[in-house]
């Protein structure tokens, strides 16, 4: 008994501003009962959750509301019209827990909009079913309806009339009414006129060709998997792995595009496509928000998003019409210690309410066994696909296919690039970048030059070679002596790590041998910290005295080579 009392006390304290208690005492019981009556009369009990507080208000018959207003006017002496809205919000929070705090807050701040939103009658009819199909465009329409609505008392619309306040902008962004855009340029851009420029723009990694060469088999595999799932109307998972730059995302995207085209003609069942990238999220739970955003166009908090998705995928009443294909890129970022997000994403396909097909992409082949928990691995299933790194022949084919129609490249040059890249990583991006650089080098000589072996060699040299030898050559004389001193100290002791006092002794004798005026400790320390900054030496970050530990970060042979040539 006592606990309940205290609870109520707490509640009233928390819910109200200092001005409101009187008001609540007077009106709240009666209002509550009236609203509840309205609710029971107009809606089925099963629809409780789908109702927002605003809808509720709207659904309520007007007489009750009019009473409200009158009482308010009477009461106006000691309080403004605020209590009305306070009442609404507290009431709604009591009855509909699922509404988030954020929404409640916003409503309190700018109540005008909310009471307005409910007006458009056509939306409310099928809202329960169609809620998830809102597109931004529809939202815009809705906004218009709000402002041209005749029967309301004219009030100055805050968000449109004056300059938009930041808070209203945020609200619009969250609702998806503002479409994000970049400023557009004022002048027209230069066109690709010379063959080299055309070649360069075709060689850019962003230029994705219509069909991907050398990935026909993988394309076929993914296509048959997706088609099978779509026709069978069941959910499923697939795991794709491969080192970066082997065309995983590009292949999946092209398959999905192919399917979308086919869906338009009716060859395959229609579906929705959601695309998720782990690296583009600030934290794993934002995955829910991103999925909901792509389904509905609205941004909500992750808790809300999670419950919405739970409803879609597990509750019978909220069945979506269309199957969903979900692509999860960079899966390993979403895996945290708890793995709740990845578990949920892989668990939904097994519940057969709404059809969900999940394709996951990551780099390592054994990620499911290494990183994921057993129950997650088992849900991921065994439908797996590995993208091998490109061989030099495939790389050559990719580049030549992109250059189709422009004969500005020497075929041998392309082969050289392909062989070099295939021997290192088999990364298609790398090969394309090197070719593009070679084209740039050739362009300096003239617009119509053929890209030859020498250009490619220069590009390879710039992009693959190590800069350390050049860096050592360009050090000052003292710094070169320091490097030599470290090497001879390492050779003397046989241990890789040396301390400054020993290096300094060696440096002094080296200077004496070479006829170089001896330097003080301060200068020597300065030189060492400079070498440490560009990582030719590894030095202690903490102490800078005689016991500073120094490790050579280049091979001694590099130093000898760099210093000998002079």
């Amino acid at each position: 008994m006592s606990t309940r009392k205290s609870l109520r006390l707490q509640k009233s304290r928390g819910d109200t501003t200092p001005a409101t208690p009187i008001h609540q005492n007077f009106y709240s019981p009666r209002l509550r009962s009236s609203v509840k009556r309205n609710l029971n009369s107009s809606f089925g009990a099963s629809e409780h959750e789908s109702l927002s507080p605003t809808k509720l208000l709207k659904a309520g018959p007007s007489p009750a509301k009019k009473n409200e207003k009158i009482t308010l006017v009477i009461d106006k002496k000691n309080m403004t019209c605020r209590p009305l809205f306070r009442y609404e919000s507290s009431e709604s929070e009591d009855d509909y827990v699922s509404r988030s705090r954020a929404v409640g807050k916003r409503k309190v701040k700018s109540p005008v909009k909310y009471t307005h939103v409910n007006v458009s009658p056509k939306k409310t009819v099928n809202k329960g079913v169609e809620e998830l199909h809102f597109t931004p465009v529809k939202n815009k329409l809705l906004e218009k309806d709000v402002f041209y609505d005749g029967c309301r008392t004219p009030r100055t619309p805050r968000s449109s009339g004056k300059k938009a306040t930041p808070r209203s902008t945020i609200k619009q962004i969250r609702e998806g009414t503002i479409t994000p855009k970049v400023q557009s340029r004022t002048k027209a851009m230069e066109l690709d006129d010379t063959p080299l420029k055309v070649a360069r723009s075709h060689l850019h990694v962003s230029y994705v060709p219509t069909d991907l060469p050398c990935r026909e088999k993988e394309h076929e595999d993914i296509l048959s998997f997706l088609e099978g799932k779509l026709f069978d109307k069941c959910g499923g998972c697939m795991y794709i792995s491969g080192v970066p730059g082997t065309g995983k995302t590009a292949t999946v995207t092209s398959v999905v595009n192919h399917l979308l085209k086919a869906a338009k003609t009716g060859d395959v069942p229609n579906f929705q496509y959601v695309n998720l990238n782990g690296m583009k999220l600030t934290e794993p739970r934002q995955a829910y928000v991103e999925i909901v955003k792509q389904l509905t166009g609205k941004t909500v908090t992750w808790e809300q998003a999670q419950s919405t998705l739970e409803e879609i995928f597990t509750k019978k009443a909220k069945k979506m019409k269309l199957p969903i294909i979900l692509l999860v890129d960079e899966l390993d970022i979403i895996c945290t210690k708890r793995q709740d997000v990845v578990y949920n994403i892989l668990d939904w396909p097994t519940k057969s309410i709404t059809q969900l097909i999940v394709i996951t992409i990551a780099n390592t082949m054994d990620l499911p066994e290494r990183l994921l928990m057993n129950r997650v691995t088992s849900r991921l299933g065994l439908t797996r696909l590995t993208f091998q790194a490109y061989t030099h022949k495939q790389l050559q084919e990719i580049v030549t296919k992109r250059l189709f129609g422009t004969n500005s490249f020497n075929p041998d040059a392309v082969q050289l690039v392909a062989r070099k890249v295939a021997s290192v990583s088999g990364d298609a991006r790398r090969a394309l970048d090197i070719c593009r650089r070679a084209a740039e080098i050739a362009e300096v000589e003239g617009d119509d030059t053929l890209v030859s072996m020498s250009h490619v060699n220069e590009a390879l040299k710039a992009m693959i070679t190590q800069p350390k030898v050049r860096a050592i050559k360009n050090c000052s004389r003292l710094e070169q002596y320091v490097l030599q001193a470290v090497i001879s100290e390492v050779e003397r002791t046989g241990i890789e790590e040396t301390v400054f006092s020993n290096v300094y002794q060696m440096l002094v004798s080296l200077c004496a041998v070479n006829g170089f005026n001896s330097v003080s400790c301060t200068i020597a320390l300065r030189a060492i910290s400079k070498l440490g900054a560009c990582r030719l030496l590894l030095v202690d970050q903490k102490c800078h005295d005689l016991d500073e530990r120094i490790i050579l970060n280049v091979s001694p042979d590099d130093v000898y080579y760099a210093l000998k040539e002079e």
Partner: protein, 427 residues
């Protein structure tokens, strides 16, 4: 008359300092500059997305180069491009960096430089914005990221991944130019980020391999010091002539050349040269209104001096004696650590043997020992271990023997016994 020449010297000093400090033109490294210029120019004019790294040791003119290039591209920034500058020391995590990007790009969720919404909101909105743009329609965006290596330590490298990803996909044309002094910066990138980076590295080293550093530097000095005759600097023409001729004679001086050579051998960067030049110029006054070799020599000696010796010279005799005692201890026991008791007993032997040395109380010596510790001439071996009493805590000496001899040589009026004690070897 005197007043007039006074004014001349003042104006000259002002002119020279301004010339040395606020000199923003970029000399040398034509290839590298052209490469950076081409890169940015292509991004702006033909909407090509790019990424590159500018790598070079500290004080090699990386920022100067970029600023120089950006100044040439200035006309584009009002119409066709947006410039976004980030710095690793200011934007210490992705959250702050993202807010700054949003504000600098002037997106919808930023009002007067203040950015609204959470981190996740900002990222999604920025990516959506960049995705909505396309080649040829939207403005190019140029990201200049200084201290690029510090961005590699951010959580998951989210920002770098997203920027590089945009630069490799058909979205808004952007150019990401990282500036760093670490040669191995590419190894800091995660494999996905590394794959998206275009591997275009532009190296900027201090010297060019084949050029003569000395000639280059003398030319640079000439540029700094010569006062143009035509330009309207408020100095009397006769004084200008006199000054310029003094500069010419100095630059031809052999001693001066060897001094400059020495400076080049020690440090190639122009920043250390500028520091010395500023000090030299500050010394110009009415009586000393010529550029003299002696002033340079003094400044270079100041530049080269040993700081520890300087500290040793200012010690009291007692403190110096203690240091000498410590040196002896190190020599005998081969750099073994010592505590106060060891030093004290060894010092007492010395003090008792020489009647001229005033005997002082133990607390006074303890005080002197603490003073030495505060100067960090000795450092405790274990830190934070409070169980050991002060007298028995172990220390190591941070002074080299030759520094002590040097200091003893330089101090005037040191008692003979102390000098002898310093020079005596106990081994």
């Amino acid at each position: 008359m005197k007043n007039l020449s006074d004014k001349n010297v003042l104006n000259l000093r002002k002119f020279l300092k301004n010339n040395i400090l606020n000199n923003s033109d970029f000399v040398g490294h034509e290839d590298e500059r052209q490469q950076v210029f081409d890169l940015l120019h292509r991004t702006i004019t033909s909407g090509e997305s790019n990424s590159a790294l500018l790598i070079g040791p500290r004080a090699s003119g990386k920022t100067t180069l970029v600023d120089n290039v950006l100044r040439d591209l200035q006309p584009y920034f009002s119409s066709d491009a947006i410039l976004v500058k980030l710095h690793g020391l200011i934007h210490t995590d992705d959250r702050i960096a993202l807010k700054s990007i949003t504000a600098q790009m002037n997106l919808e969720n930023a009002v007067d430089g203040k950015v609204f919404g959470s981190f996740a909101d900002n990222l999604t909105f920025l990516l959506a914005c960049l995705k909505s743009g396309e080649r040829g329609v939207s403005k190019s965006i140029i990201f200049i990221i200084e201290e690029f290596d510090l961005f590699c330590s951010h959580h998951n490298q989210t920002l770098l991944y997203n920027l590089f990803d945009v630069s490799q996909s058909a979205q808004t044309p952007i150019c990401v130019l990282g500036i760093t002094c670490r040669l191995d910066v590419i190894e800091l990138l995660e494999k996905r980020v590394k794959s998206r980076f275009s591997h275009r590295q532009i190296f900027l080293f201090l010297g060019n391999d084949n050029e003569n550093h000395l000639d280059q530097r003398l030319a640079r000095l000439q540029k700094y010091f010569l006062v143009p005759i035509q330009q309207s600097v408020d100095i009397a023409p006769s004084f200008k002539k006199q000054w310029n001729s003094s500069v010419h004679t100095l630059l031809k001086d052999r001693n001066f050349k060897s001094l400059m050579q020495r400076l080049i051998d020690l440090d190639l960067s122009e920043r250390s040269l500028k520091n010395i030049l500023l000090l030299v110029v500050s010394e110009l006054n009415n009586d000393n209104n010529k550029l003299a070799y002696d002033t340079f020599l003094r400044q270079v000696e100041l530049f080269e001096r040993d700081e520890t010796v300087q500290v040793l010279q200012d010690l009291s005799v007692l403190e110096l004696c203690l240091i000498i005692t410590m040196k002896h201890h190190c020599e005998i026991y081969d750099n073994q650590p010592m505590n106060f008791e060891m030093v004290f007993s060894r010092y007492l032997k010395f003090a008792n043997a020489n009647s001229n040395i005033q005997t002082v109380e133990r607390p006074v010596i303890m005080k002197a020992f603490e003073q030495i510790e505060n100067l960090e001439l000795i450092s405790p071996l274990t830190t934070g271990n409070s169980t050991v009493q002060k007298e028995y805590q172990l220390f190591k000496l941070l002074v080299l023997p030759h520094q002590i001899t040097e200091a003893v040589k330089k101090i005037t009026g040191l008692p003979t016994e102390v000098t002898q004690y310093a020079n005596s070897s106990l081994v």
